[in-house]
Amino acid sequence: MAHISVTVDGTSYQGEVEPRKLLVHWLREDIGRVGTVVGCDTSNCGACTVLLNGRSVKSCSVLAVQADGCEVTTIQGLADGNDWHPVQTAFKECHGLQCGYCTPGMVMAAVDLLSENPTPSESEIREGLEGNLCRCTGYHNIVKSVAYAADLMSAGPTKGAK
């Protein structure tokens, strides 16, 4: 067992973890942050994407011990309480989700993409989200959502989904 201390969505958590435990399992099982989900066992689907010190990572490809001392942001901490981050607003407005299982990862990947490239073209969005699989939407509306989020974010902070 190793001792770790990780800040998740603004709250600091300490605990003993098995060295082999993946960050996503620690989030889900040890501290009950079940908004982040698991879709595969080969690091292909991206459903588990979170921000680690501000950059997106697949939390199934990081050990919990590697997150020691880091800040993790999940879908649950992207906006305060019932507030909406522009990317969340855009996904609702553009119907960028159906079952919603890929959504936590897709949204976090989109947040990272837009922080790197605030005005992405369609093909930059498509390439940028290549590591996140969605089986429901055919990506059409996800791409629209990210483009719309870019508009919202360049227009300044927004309040609330329509």
């Binding site: 159906q98 055919g138 059409h140 329509k162």
Partner: protein
């Protein structure tokens, strides 16, 4: 354009989804999120072999491992080792071998369950699997359908002495006579390859004895909580009224969660036996071998026509891969396609034969479209081949043979009566959106110039039958269940509305769309309506969600129940307003005395009166609710025209989908935004079959594409945006005018893509391309055609 409803109600509007707030904030309730005190976790020892005798199985070592509570093989489990049910015995003499949850003496597919361990953590359960001693005596694997039917083949099930599960024939008219009359007969063999549904949320199930009663609650990531409850009761012997099945947030299904899986049976039985919650969540790698697969047919198709392009007859001979066992509707899937091979075309005769074949592979069952993608692929491909054979423009050939707008209702050669359709309108619109003539001109140019990158245009003018459906028809096909749907609508004393539906969404947006239907009738804002679903405790009656049935069938029940509620309320309101019920009109959620708008009572006020019951008219019972159970008259028949432009690099085999246009006619649209989303997702899955996906096995029956690293579902970078349009020809057999939409895209798009690739390469002698059309496959096809031409 969209749902042209002359109404100021919520119906037909692209209202943003109610479902999204919790999904976008991670406030979700996936089954795997459920953590009950005292839970034991189940891990499964699965067969690494496709076909083998189990010569030794000893689970006792696992019991000594830390955290382990119990371990079982089939012998230890005894009577609790339930059998997986099949509810569709398609013929009287179908062979239906047993499918025990834990394999008894023999394994028949990679992924067969051999033993289970239950432990206090997932990790402890998985670790303890290593301590189970098992040995196998490998048997020859049956992997090829044609070889499986030869005498002397190894047998998947020794006791039935054959690998043929059933033979189903449906001769319609005299095909031989059509053939004799024909100037042209074109025959092709198409392979509709095996696919893996690959919904993003892996399956998960939790079962818990509830303590204060005999109830066992089962949370499962399923499309069919209601059907599952009945089947689990039958399989486990636990009284149905002690079972409550809940499908919480469910992350996609596409048919893959339309099942009563062995893991659901095991978890339920073990929760009862151990008297504590039992939980199991599959890994993706388990999912690839243990969740049912789809498609997997060899299709021998023959079409007979005159030289000027009149189709006379069609002959379809199928081998359909059942896999190792029959699951819920495994044998019936090809029959859902059987009626649709003639599709939109008029012809004199149609001859259908299907042989179901057992192999040592994962069982097949419903996957988005279930039978209709296979039939649509075959007919749309063979029509293109016929066009090439007689030198006719492929769209012209279609126009010549399709059912004309004015000919509806039309009874097809397969015996179905299509109520409505307008293939002309959808096609005209699609051709215009696509710039068909412009692209044909570019194609001619590139061909003349010998451009290494050739342009192909792929057409698919599809229809399908969906909205499963009339119970009588299903009964005639030997399907054991019905096809009705139920709804209860309640007006609560506080004015809020509950719509209790028997449909079970997993991404389709029922909460939003059903609210829109009820709102349009009750005049209550969409926000004040709560849709209750997917819990047999709260929504006790239903037939669940599959076969594009939820709106087509369930929507009618919502409409009928809402209307009945208004009629009950009208009687109460008339009593309160001291007038006769016929003097009242119901406008915007309020009963108004005709001619005196000052005298009115809102529905919410009526609901409160019905609650207090202080002043109800004689004979009227307290509470304001109404229910309806609807069994539709017929299936619904959506249709559409899909067009694809593809650039094919003849030097590398690389295919680029440049443009995809589709115009779908799904009848009246309750929420056009959701309709479009369903089309996008379906189209993407159909394109994926054409270009990317295929479950590959080796000769020993090992699944080679057993993870998301090997089974290629497309990413955003692999697909273009789609141009969608619609025409609205309302269904006449469904009171809302709606048809189904969930499967249409997946049914339509696959042949559009392959027709387009063949169209790009036909001048090189190419007449078919196998799916998935990877660069390697396309390149080899070009080389073979060149070699053949010389």
């Amino acid at each position: 354009m969209t749902a042209a409803l002359e109404t100021d109600t919520a119906l037909g509007k692209p209202i943003r989804r109610k479902e999204d707030a919790h999904l976008l904030h991670g406030q979700t309730n996936w089954t795997d999120n459920i953590q009950l005190p005292g839970t034991v976790h189940m891990a499964i020892l699965r067969s690494p072999m496709a076909h083998a005798k189990i010569t030794k199985l000893d689970v006792s070592g696992a019991l000594k491992q830390p955290g382990v509570v119990a371990a079982y093989g089939a012998k230890e489990l005894g009577d609790l080792n339930g059998g997986v049910p099949c509810v569709w015995p398609v013929t009287d003499d179908i062979k239906m071998p047993a499918f025990p949850a834990l394999a008894i003496d023999k394994v028949r597919q990679v992924g067969d369950c051999v033993a289970v361990v239950l432990a206090t953590s997932v990790a402890a359960a998985v670790d303890a699997l290593d301590s189970i001693v098992v040995s196998y005596d490998q048997l020859p694997a049956v992997t090829d359908m044609e070889a499986a039917l030869e005498s002397g083949s190894a047998l998947v099930h020794d006791e039935i002495e054959t690998n043929a599960c059933y033979v189903y024939k449906m001769p319609c008219g005299d095909y031989e006579a059509s053939r004799a009359k024909a100037d042209v007969v074109v025959a092709r063999r198409f392979i509709n390859q095996r696919l893996i549904p690959t919904f993003m949320e892996p399956r998960s199930v939790v079962a818990a004895p509830m303590g204060m009663s005999d109830e066992i609650t089962i949370w499962s990531s399923t499309q069919i909580p209601h059907v599952l409850r009945v089947l689990l009761a039958l399989v486990t012997g636990i009284p149905e009224n002690n079972l409550r099945v809940v499908a919480p947030d469910v992350g996609g299904g596409f048919g893959g969660k339309l099942q009563c899986y062995r893991e659901e049976i095991l978890v339920t039985n073990l929760a009862k036996k151990l008297g504590r919650p039992v939980k199991w969540t599959e890994t993706r790698s388990e999912n690839m071998v243990a969740t049912h697969h789809g498609r997997d047919q060899i299709q021998d198709i023959e079409i007979a026509a005159t030289k000027d392009g009149k189709i006379l007859g069609l002959k379809v001979t199928l081998l359909a891969n059942m896999g190792a066992y029959l699951q819920i509707i495994t044998p019936g899937v090809p029959l859902l396609g059987m009626f649709m091979y003639p599709a939109i075309y008029k012809m004199d005769s149609y001859d259908f034969t299907c042989t179901g074949v057992f192999t040592n592979k994962t069982p097949t069952d419903a996957y988005r479209g279930a039978g209709r993608p296979e039939s649509t692929y075959a007919i749309e491909r063979i029509v293109d081949e016929l066009a090439a054979e007689i030198g006719m423009e492929p769209m012209e050939l279609r126009k010549k043979n399709w059912i004309k707008h004015e000919e509806f209702p039309f009874t097809t050669v397969a015996g179905l009566t299509y109520d409505t359709g307008n293939y002309e309108a959808a096609t005209e619109k699609a051709l215009a959106m696509f710039d068909y003539d412009g692209l044909r001109a570019e194609q001619a140019q590139r061909r003349a110039a010998g451009d290494p990158v050739q342009l192909g245009i792929g057409i698919s003018t599809f229809t399908e039958m969906c909205g499963l459906a009339p119970s009588r028809t299903l009964g005639a096909l030997k399907y054991v269940a019905g096809g009705w749907e139920h709804c209860t609508v309640r007006a609560l004393p506080t004015g809020k509305i509950e719509v209790v539906t028997g449909t079970s969404p997993h991404g389709q947006g029922h909460e939003t769309a059903w609210s829109q239907i009820a709102s349009s009738i009750l005049g209550v804002p969409v926000e004040d309506i709560e849709v209750i679903h997917s819990d047999t405790g709260r929504a006790p009656y239903g037939m669940d969600t599959y076969g594009s049935r939820s709106l087509a069938v369930g929507g009618q029940a919502i409409k009928a129940a809402s209307e009945r509620l208004v009629e009950k309320a009208r009687v109460i309101a008339a009593h309160q307003l001291e007038c006769s019920a016929s003097d009242l009109e119901f406008v915007n959620g309020s009963f108004q005395v005709k001619g005196d708008p000052s005298k009115s009572q809102a529905l919410g006020a009526v609901a409160f009166e019905a609650f207090t019951a202080h002043n109800l008219p004689p004979g009227v019972e307290p509470t304001l609710q109404a229910e309806a159970t609807i069994d539709p008259e017929d299936f619904s028949y959506p249709h559409g025209t899909h067009l694809a432009a593809l650039e094919v690099d003849t030097e590398t085999g690389q295919v680029k989908l440049r443009k995809y246009v589709c115009v779908d006619d799904v009848g009246m649209q309750v929420n056009p935004m959701i309709v479009e989303g369903q089309v996008h997702g379906g189209v993407a899955q159909g394109i994926a079959q054409a270009l990317f996906e295929g479950a590959e096995y080796d000769d020993d029956g090992n699944l080679l594409t057993a993870s998301l690293a090997d089974y290629l579902i497309p990413s955003a970078a692999d697909l273009p945006s789609f141009e969608t349009g619609s025409t609205v020809t309302p269904s006449t057999t469904h009171p809302l005018g709606t048809k189904g939409v969930g499967e249409a895209g997946a049914i339509a798009s696959t042949p559009a893509i392959i027709n387009g690739i063949v169209d790009a390469l036909r001048h090189l002698g190419v007449t078919d391309v196998a799916m998935p059309a990877s660069p390697q496959t396309v390149w080899r096809t070009i080389q073979a055609a060149k070699g053949g031409a010389k």
